[in-house]
């Protein structure tokens, strides 16, 4: 029951918000997001961090097809639920300085998406998962296509078609699993129990992998991402990068590893190499980007590459690193995009060359930006380090040479991030930046919260690691058992 409240509360919020006029829409959206956060905290207090699925609901839905409304939360889901419901209020609050046209529709779409995301992160029925997957895509498409930059239509068409194409592969995979399932339902546990040969598993692997790889995105399925991030309105970019891409990561962990472990085993090498190529490739491209938003977009591809490599390392450290890094990346990347939004809403540019000297006129922005950036480059003591350390360790254990190459992110990240910081914040002010005003009000609220989260998570990550450890270990055991069973 609690779970239904969690999932459908934002939907109710969306409905109410869509009926409101003018400035009250954003307040309503923030209110609902905060209530969702409170519900999450409530769930967290009742949650036992063991490997079991909790708050489970299982109602028959479309019985003729064996579709059930089956959802629940284990440690892994909990992390992503926390991610969604902590970031949502921050994202909504970060948009308060903007006056969006048709604000009611804008904020209703955001809340609608939240429900979709929560459904994805809790669904235990293949069909339900797919519904959530698309329910999260449609609102973000409209957010980007209606409120985005001048190239929004063309860019979004590509984004939409690309991701839809990916998810159709997944749908085929789900239907195939359904057909193989003697019980003729979409239940995840039934999928886990299927006995597929390695040939079948290979096909399923690729059907799911492509969908997830496009979503994250993993090299070479990433070319929709920089354009989409750059053209989307700031809250859209934050939703995409902060939360939505974690759908892909979550999907791999929940719907790929345990269902087709043999397929993973056969193809892990390819997935790993693509992930690691993505780290170096995207980092290098970030070196010479002229638009700060695009630079961060490429840096996100690099970071996600490392997360994905950590998944396929198939170790406790790797998956635990993924858990922490999903949260950290979400927090840090929305921080970065918010800083860039603050700059572009005042100066109407994110072109690195046109900026400079902002630290002089905006010391508070300079400090918060620096802390977020340090989190992004994984300085020990920040949230980024915990995840990146565990991820690199797991990749290193998979293969020490890949570990070395993936480790280049430590150096490259510092290069492009500090280059951006120097060009944007340091140096002398110019005629454009001299009039810049420092952050205030809600901007301070959002950025200070993010900075506190970055440091607290970096110094004391134990509660988060503890939350998911049992579930992660259980999942790995499941994979290993099935692997030894097939052989």
């Amino acid at each position: 029951m609690e779970l239904l409240i969690l999932i459908f509360l934002p939907l109710v919020g969306a409905l109410i918000t869509s009926l409101l006029k003018g400035g009250s829409a954003k307040v309503s959206a923030l209110g609902f997001a905060l209530i969702s956060l409170c519900v999450t905290i409530g769930l967290l207090t009742q949650f036992t961090p063991d490997a079991t699925t909790q708050f489970a609901v299982n109602y028959p839905w479309i019985q003729q097809l064996g579709i059930n409304f089956h959802a629940g939360i284990d440690g892994i889901s909990m992390i992503t639920v926390i991610l969604t419901n902590v970031l949502m209020p921050l994202i909504i609050l970060s948009s308060f300085k903007h006056e969006y046209k048709n604000a009611n529709a804008f904020y209703a779409l955001i809340l609608f998406m939240q429900s979709g995301l929560l459904l994805v992160f809790t669904a235990l029925d293949g069909f339900l998962f797919y519904i959530g997957w698309e329910a999260a895509l449609i609102p973000i498409y409209f957010i980007c296509a209606m409120w985005g930059g001048k190239d929004r239509i063309k860019v979004n068409m590509k984004f939409f078609v690309y991701t839809i194409a990916g998810s159709l592969f997944m749908l085929l995979g789900i239907i195939y699993l359904y057909l193989q399932n003697p019980a003729k339902n979409f239940d995840i546990n039934a999928f886990y129990a299927l006995n597929l040969d390695s040939y079948q598993q290979g096909w399923i692997f690729w059907a799911f992998f492509i969908a997830f790889a496009i979503k994250m995105p993993i090299f070479p399925f990433h070319t929709w991402q920089p354009d989409t991030y750059t053209e989307a309105p700031a809250p859209g970019t934050m939703l995409l990068s902060g939360i939505m891409l974690k759908m892909g990561i979550y999907g791999v962990i929940r719907w790929l590893l345990p269902i087709v472990p043999q397929g993973v085993n056969d193809w892990v090498c390819v997935a790993m190499i693509l992930s690691v190529i993505g780290i170096v490739y995207a980092s290098l491209i970030a070196f010479t980007q002229k638009d700060a938003k695009r630079l961060v977009a490429y840096s996100s591809i690099a970071h996600v590459g490392l997360i994905s490599a950590g998944i396929f390392a198939l170790s406790t450290q790797g998956l635990q690193g993924v858990m922490v890094q999903m949260l950290s990346h979400g927090i840090n990347v929305i921080g970065l995009f918010f800083v860039l939004d603050i700059i572009s809403s005042r100066l109407h540019t994110n072109k690195i060359e046109e900026l400079g000297g902002l630290a002089k006129v905006a010391p508070k922005l300079a400090i918060t930006f620096l802390i977020i950036l340090l989190g992004t480059v994984a300085l020990p003591g920040t949230n980024g380090f915990i995840g990146e350390f565990l991820l690199l360790f797991s990749v290193y254990n998979y293969n020490s040479w890949l570990g070395l190459i993936a480790g280049l992110t430590i150096i490259f990240g510092a290069v492009y991030m500090l280059r951006m910081y120097q060009k944007v914040m340091l140096g002398e002010t110019n005629t454009l930046t001299i009039s810049f005003t420092d952050i205030k009000g809600t901007e301070k609220g959002v950025l200070y919260t993010i900075c506190v989260l970055i440091i607290v998570m970096g110094v004391y990550p134990k509660p988060i690691l503890h939350l998911s450890e049992a579930s992660v270990q259980h999942l790995l055991e499941q994979v290993n058992q099935k692997l030894t069973g097939v052989n």
């Binding site: 209606m146 020990p380 340091l426």
Partner: protein, 633 residues
């Protein structure tokens, strides 16, 4: 007592950072100064108390666990400290010299708009440096290791509106990170080999391993790469001279006395591992010697007083690595200590000169200052004699210990080390004579304002001068009837100590040779710069090829730019414009084309009214739920 007080030592500077950081715009300068210096002084007093506690105790290792930091699977990394003879000395250096430099900064930075920020950063640095030396495992050490790198970044770029300074800061951070990757990989390998990253678990296991084992060699090489970044060794040293962009107290504290010696600390801490890897030791000895020589050659022709000292620091660090490579861990650490005294002194002295000269750093515009800056001159002279290795000042003892061990290990390395000592004495006396002797070469207008620095700056100079003079006494070698107190103290921390096997006659002969070399250098510098009043030529004049190479720092920056920076940027543009935009995206668009063509018909159904879409979506969901309800019913 150690268990209950130790955590306060890093906490106090952290509190100082937080308080000054928050109050930097509201507090008065004196309050900022009192909080900043007071925090470090309190840590120093605690360090002294604990030091005496430790020396009176038979137990020499005090682990203090704070909390469980990172745990995943079989990996457990507690946030914990280790107080032992090695960290006890480091604490004294960091907080003691740190306090003197804080005090000095009150005077030096007095007119700077960023006074509060400066003290906040300085305290943060002390905090991270203390974490670095207190960590009981490699990962906690790494927190400090990267944390001091951050502070170094912030303080090099303290005057960030100057984009050259900001670039220098970035360069320091990035080059350090190259080393840090090595360090991190080394730690991974340590964990995989020993199942732990705790010193107390790694070293006892390592002690039973075969010398020359491949794994140990690889671990130590990776750790050494980390040390090369932090402690500015070839090929990663070029950031340190650029780091002189920071305010001079920063150069003294971070880029001479403490942070840059972290690499030596780390290797000395891991001496058990390095002793098992003769190949790595040889590499370290060679790199150290080469760095010492190259940096000394560059220092010969520099005209910026801080640049001379910066290259001198690189060169002295090279010495320390030579010492580590030849197995003289305690000797190297001894040099860390004496170098901290005399180099902090020299930098602060240079700062006093720069302060008096209103930010003039070019020695060609100085000269004849000894009459006006009496205390600065006298104290710096003591520092110069100490670094030149003339007895009985501190540098003599520590340098000769390293050279004696080098002589035992390999005569060529010893000879290069000796030659470097000769160069060191020469460029240091050159610096002193150019600055303080002869006639004043600056403008008349500026000359009237030249004055000795205030007491808050000169007192630290005097204290450091005393330490630079007598600091060698704590490790008097047996050849002079001493008992090598420091070396024995450090063995309590498990630092390998190898006694010299040379006979006393050879030892005396080696000392005589190096003292003679220093005296010749002194005489030569005196003749050239005092008697003949030679002044380095201005930049427009032609130099000889050798002088050109030295003056232009072997063109290392230009070489790195050509073989690393430029190619990477070219790759970046190639990947972006060709691979990403044309190849990959071209393929995607090719696939997408058919999809968009196909969807053209469907598009007509869409009206573009978002409200309608939302309505339809919500309607659809309600319909589905309703269906569920009905089908259950």
């Amino acid at each position: 007592m150690i268990n209950s007080l130790l955590w306060l030592i890093p906490l106090l500077p952290l509190l100082g950072f937080v308080i000054n950081g928050l109050g930097r715009n509201t507090f008065s300068k004196s309050l900022v100064g009192i909080i900043g210096s007071g925090a470090v002084l309190a840590s120093f007093v605690l360090s002294v108390i604990l030091f005496f506690d430790l020396s009176g105790s038979t137990q020499k290792q005090f682990p203090v666990e704070l909390f469980d930091w990172i745990s995943a699977g079989n990996l457990h990394i507690p946030l914990s400290f280790l107080y032992d003879p090695l960290s006890s000395i480091m604490l004294l250096i960091i907080t003691g010299i740190g306090f003197l430099i804080h005090l000095y900064s009150v005077g030096y930075m007095h007119d700077d708009a960023g006074f509060g920020k400066f003290f906040a950063y300085l305290n943060l640095f002390i905090f991270f440096m203390l974490i670095l030396v207190l960590g009981s495992n490699y990962i906690v050490m790494f927190i400090g290791w990267e944390g001091v790198g951050l502070c170094s970044y912030l303080l090099i770029g303290f005057w960030y509106t100057n984009s050259n300074y900001a670039s220098a800061a970035k360069k320091a951070f990035v080059m350090n990170r190259i080393g840090d990757l090595g360090f991190l990989l080394g730690v991974f390998l340590i964990f995989n080999t020993f199942g732990s990253v705790e010193f107390a678990k790694v070293f006892p296991q390592a002690a039973s391993m075969m010398p020359g084992a491949g794994t140990i060699t690889l671990i130590t090489i990776l750790l050494f790469i980390g040390a090369c970044g932090k402690s500015a060794q070839l090929p990663l040293f070029t950031w340190l001279p650029d780091a002189m962009a920071g305010p001079t107290p920063v150069s003294a504290l971070i880029h001479a006395a403490t942070m840059v010696t972290a690499g030596i600390y780390m290797i000395a801490r891991s001496s058990v591992l390095f002793d098992l890897a003769p190949t790595t030791q040889m590499i370290i000895a060679i790199i150290g010697t080469a760095t010492a020589l190259v940096a000394a050659i560059i220092a010969l022709t520099q005209t910026d007083i801080k640049k001379v000292l910066a290259y001198s620091t690189v060169s002295q660090l090279g010495y320390m690595f030579l010492g580590l490579g030849v197995g003289a861990y305690t000797g190297s650490f001894f040099h860390v200590l004496t170098h901290a005294f005399f180099k902090a002194l020299l930098f602060l002295g240079a700062g006093s000169v720069i302060h008096a000269m209103h930010h003039e750093q070019d020695m060609r515009h100085m000269g004849g200052l000894k009459g006006k800056l009496k205390i600065t001159f006298a104290t710096m002279m003591i520092g110069t004699i100490a670094i030149a290795g003339l007895p009985p000042f501190s540098g003599f003892f520590s340098k000769d210990e390293i050279l004696a061990h080098a002589f035992e290990y390999n005569k060529v390395l010893w000879a290069i080390g000796l030659f470097t000592a000769f160069l060191t004495a020469f460029y240091m006396f050159r610096m002193m004579f150019l600055t303080f002797s002869g006639k004043y070469r600056g403008t008349h207008h500026a000359e009237e304002y030249i004055h000795e620095s205030p007491k808050i700056m000169t007192y630290p100079l005097i204290v450091l001068a005393i330490l630079a003079a007598i600091g060698g006494l704590i490790n008097i070698p047996a050849v002079f009837g001493g008992n090598e107190w420091l070396a024995h103290w450090l063995t309590g921390a498990g630092i390998a100590h190898h006694e010299l096997t040379l006979d006393h006659t050879t030892e005396f002969a080696l000392m005589a040779v190096s003292v003679l070399a220093a005296l010749i250098a002194l005489f030569y510098a005196y003749t050239k710069y005092v008697k003949n009043a030679h002044v380095p030529v201005s930049d427009e004049n032609k130099r000889s090829i050798l002088a050109k190479i030295s003056y232009n720092k072997f063109y290392l920056d230009e070489i790195y730019d050509a073989i690393i920076t430029k190619p990477l940027d070219a790759f970046s543009r190639f990947f972006y414009r060709i691979i990403d935009k044309k190849v990959i995206d071209g393929l995607v668009n090719g696939f997408g084309w058919s999809a968009t063509e196909g969807s053209k018909g469907l598009r007509l159904l869409q009206s573009g009214n978002v409200g309608f879409y939302i309505f339809m979506m919500v309607f659809g969901i309600i319909a589905l739920l309703l269906y569920t309800y009905l089908s259950i019913a």
